[in-house]
């Protein structure tokens, strides 16, 4: 499995698509997490993401290792943005390419679910009412 793992100020869906495209694969599943303009009914002006970068990259690599062990996935891209992000901005992209679509769905969902549980990245929410949450 080829893997692209990155944490950067700005990430794009296109770079993930470019990485996973391959004439050997027939099915690609992509998850994108974008900043919503509302959290439980409260207006959001922006999110601020920070990370413990060295450990976050190491935990992302562990997820990739688990994906490789469990499924026959050819390519996996896992990108996370940090810093100020505004509604509509992309915070995370997971892209998986495989010869068979069923396992691509499973691996993509596993990757984002596990990332949200284990990777040391934190967001702070800034609300339109002036409040801040985390």
């Amino acid at each position: 499995m080829e893997t692209l793992i990155a944490i950067r100020d700005t990430i794009t869906v296109q770079e993930a698509l470019d990485f996973i495209q391959s004439p050997e694969c027939g099915g690609e599943v992509i998850f994108t997490g974008t900043v919503r303009n509302d959290t439980r009914g409260r207006g959001v002006t922006k999110l601020f993401y920070e990370c413990y970068e060295a450990m976050a990259l190491s935990e992302m690599q562990k997820i990739a290792d688990q994906v490789q062990a469990r499924w026959d996935i050819k390519k996996l891209a896992m990108l996370h943005a940090i810093g100020d992000k505004y509604p509509g901005d992309i915070a995370v992209v997971i892209a998986v390419a495989s010869a068979h679509r069923g396992i691509a769905f499973d691996a993509c969902e596993f990757t984002i679910d596990t990332l949200k549980e284990t990777v040391p990245i934190w967001k702070k929410e800034f609300f339109t009412d002036g409040g801040i949450g985390q």
């Binding site: 997490g33 993401y49 920070e50 990370c51 413990y52 060295a54 450990m55 976050a56 190491s58 996370h80 915070a91 995370v92 984002i112 990332l115 949200k116 549980e117 284990t118 990777v119 040391p120 990245i121 934190w122 967001k123 702070k124 985390q134």
Partner: protein, 77 residues
Amino acid sequence: MGLLLFGVAKDIAGAALVGIPETVTNVAELKQWLYDRYPAMRQLSSLMVAVNREYAGDTQPIGAGDEVAVIPPVSGG
């Protein structure tokens, strides 16, 4: 020995890096020391410690050469 703090733990401590006393020799002792010094950390739904960039259990020893970090509940994605 230095301790890295992130997210809400950093906000509670008011610092991204604090010194920890040499009497702290493992993860359980570190957590107890944190709870005593920053009682608000008891309110967190979880408080993990990483030693050398790996999640660490309570019995894991920590010493001068280790990179130690407080990991409050993560919220990436």
